[in-house]
Amino acid sequence: MTDSLTRAKKKGIVNLLLNPFQVIAGFQALLIGIAGIVIASLIAFQAHCFFEGIIDALIVPKVTEPWWIFTLQGLINWLVLAALIAVSGRLVAKSKYRLIDVFGTQALARLPYVLIAALCLLPSLTRYPEYMQAVYAKTTPIPAVPAYDIYLFIIGITIILSVVVWAVMLMYRAFSISCNAKGPKAVGYFIAITIIGEIITKLLYGFYDLNLHK
């Protein structure tokens, strides 16, 4: 225990990126997290990128909806997972936990989506799939794309997937720290709760007609 207590004091950049919740939680995490969700949504609006689930990211060619729809999606994705953990975390938590820590750390865990939204601004990420779709569907005219588009597309998607993995890892660590839950039981619980959250968000977006890429 003493080694981890000492390690927790180290505020190096790597520790902050992989597990910021050892030093940031509660109201501070909530403020930073919500700011990140709003910023990510504004960038996503420009990038035509929808976060239609707890870990989803979807780019569409055109949008007509206002910016606040994107912010609403970001807030819903955060609130659904945090609420599920807050309500059922006692099944795996080793002690009592504060709701402000659950909601705050889950909000902070969504900061990588700012990076994902920014990456979605890459034109190649929409241009190249449109090109491939036109080629396979044999529609005319086939859009002209630069030769380097495929490389930028592959690099962009690889980076986005890596960032999504990082975000999911942060969500798990946020849950682990805020609820003091560890081990295989905690991992299994988190996977189950994430799947349930995905189902809930999909139902919500479908029911309230927020499924915008029809």
Binding site: M1, T2, S4, L5, T6, A8, K9, K11, F21, Q22, V23, I24, A25, G26, A29, K94, S95, Y97, R98, D101, T105, I177, S178, N180
Partner: protein
Amino acid sequence: MKIKKHSNLPAQCPSCGYELSIDRLVCDSCSTVVQGNYSIPTFARLSADEQLLCINFITTGGSLKELAKIYGISYPTIRNHIDILIEKLKTMENGEHQHTAHGGEQND
């Protein structure tokens, strides 16, 4: 207030791992020697950092917020460390009760 930690009293034999006991106590003032067989108290069997955590916990009046500020970590992190310490203390106390029970049976 942060209290400095002192050197750690070994509680287990470095050779075989068995529990150590205190055989001799000496007065620094008058050199009086007290000899007997005393078991090391539960608190003294904690590591230096764990003892410091307990002392800091008491001196902050049990405020985990204050304790988190002292260590520069978040509230849930310090709470988790306290939970680990509580489990360790319970395990040590249970071990002592079993040791006392077995010792009583032998004396009978």
